[in-house]
Symmetry: C2
Subunit: 334 residues, 2 copies
């Protein structure tokens, strides 16, 4: 391994990557095997003699080789590696991303309390050597606190705020109010007046608070003497209006924006997630890059043996589309 | 493996176990290595020559051998197996619990959307062969739906409702209201009247809805022709009042009650989670059983080589304390 740590904070390392690569894209690494939809090409499966660890590692390496020069951070989702019993391929992939001097955000959406939260943090940072991880904060501060205590300095934690799926509003959009004087038996009641806040905004505010711990604040050069925080949030590209509101709530926290490409989010939709200084957001695409070789327009240009080149082209197109929108809005850092 | 499937639904299998073993306890299997607190005894570590997979497997086997006769369901928390890179020990442990004709609830609190949720379900049920799993529903129905579609018949899904930690109220206790006519920019507003519901009650209602899918309804013998559902919820023993409210909301869904023992919940506290028929709840303890050999009163009777017998005694004491409270309240099924 040949990891060069540029800065003491995850956010500063991310900013360094963004500047150097002139890109705010994040490439998901979500291998899929078999079935009728997106999948690892047949020639890879044959060469690996259907050994899933080998096939996934070979597939990922090829995707990374064709994208790392414009990709500040890669985001493998651990669900796929658990599904295919391919945690060794995940570890090799993470090491390889580090060799290429890029960052790894492990998408794991972990959540638990006390010493169990600590065990998850240890698994993510000690075993898998990720630079950052996604977590679900629904359990509240003492689900997050032991996790944050354990997180080594220089690592990032990205908390779900407003997820990209259609029904995310079932909880996240509900207006909430804390009414401590009402007894528990009053689960349904009427109030005459109340200050209401949606759950996802409440989550954003907690992220702001957690992220102000000096352990997690980078040096940066924005916002006076403060840098960006290593604690960030997730807001789907599919919700650009909510993005704007979250951006205002947490100006110094990075936003991971999923839902670009396959899920329907466009380059225009992500502009609201970016700060005026051009930082503060990274935009993820997984399927539309990993399996570009199966999708228009790339499938006309590339055959399945060229899936890596197809992914490289799709990533480049995404980078350019986003940079064009950032330039139009004047929010570009490079 | 020698698994005998008695019934087509998880809930019916659980009821069968409860009746046969005269017990509603659930024993957590959360191995801890090193440090100053609860931990696997030194003699096990030495015999395993510090191989974590071997040590954890030997530890778990001993705990299971001393508890399975009164334990309908075991609950390993995957965080600890991820921490110690001991997923092989987890698989062996699950196979062994099945050999002993008991059930496995894998505590993983998984959550994601679309095909990623499906990947998690496949990992849990196809790879780890769990009988049930815990999930976090904060992402809403389309985080849960693809998971439920994939779940094989006869398997259970337990969704977090009101977790046992102190700050669980930061989200879960907030009163929520859906106000579709208010624009998104109105994140803070006043309302004159509204029907309010706490987030955890909203979660309980969704669980009820998800659990009414015939795929997940057991034959049972309670509530007329309907049985219990295979979709359940988590409510901490530390919140007995909320337990009572949830019990009313979801009469046909099982409640997993953590927080007994080390976290402070008592046998009295769990009675509210049990239905009049004596079913509908299982009560988990992990540390207080796994590491009973380090705790009063067991540490006076057992030395560290007898940690299994200490765990057996602690489990028996827990079973009896709970059964005594159930008898007092008239809510006992056996």
């Amino acid at each position: 391994m040949n990891v060069k740590i540029f800065h003491k904070s995850f956010s500063d390392n991310l900013i360094e990557q963004i500047k150097r690569k002139k890109s705010i894209i994040c490439v998901g690494l979500d291998p899929r095997i078999g079935g009728s939809g997106s999948k690892i090409p047949q020639n890879i499966m044959e060469r690996a003699e259907n050994n899933y660890n080998d096939a996934i590692w070979e597939f990922n390496k090829e995707i990374i080789d064709h994208t790392y020069e414009i990709t500040p951070v890669f985001k493998p989702n651990i669900a796929f590696y658990e599904r295919y019993s391919a945690l060794d391929a995940l570890k090799k992939t993470i090491d390889y991303i580090h060799e290429k001097n890029s960052l790894v955000l492990l998408d794991a959406k972990r959540n638990d309390i006390g010493s169990t939260a600590e065990a998850y943090a240890s698994a993510i940072f000690d075993n898998f050597k990720a630079d950052a991880v996604t977590v679900n904060g629904y359990l509240g501060s003492d689900g997050i606190a032991p996790f944050l205590r354990y997180v080594p300095e220089g690592k990032g934690v990205i908390v779900l705020i407003k997820t990209s799926n259609k029904s995310s509003g079932e909880f996240q959009d509900l207006f909430s109010i804390s009414i401590p004087d009402i007894p528990l038996s009053g689960i349904e009641t009427t109030i005459e007046k109340g200050l209401l806040v949606r759950n996802y905004i409440q989550m954003a505010r907690l992220i702001k608070e957690w992220g102000e711990n000096p352990k997690f604040v980078g040096e940066g050069n924005s916002y006076g003497k403060f840098g960006y925080s290593d604690i960030g949030g997730v807001v789907g590209a599919t919700f650009p209006e909510q993005m704007q509101l979250v951006r205002k709530e947490i100006p110094r926290n990075f936003i991971l924006i999923p839902g670009y490409g396959s899920q329907g989010g466009s380059a225009k939709d992500i502009v609201n997630g970016v700060n005026d200084d051009g930082f503060g957001a990274i935009v993820n695409a997984s399927r539309s890059i990993n399996f570009a070789y199966q999708k228009s327009p790339y499938k006309d240009e590339f055959d399945e043996t060229e899936f890596g080149a197809a992914a490289g082209k799709a990533a480049k197109d995404m980078q350019e589309a986003i940079n064009q929108e950032l330039e139009k809005s004047g929010k570009i850092a490079y």
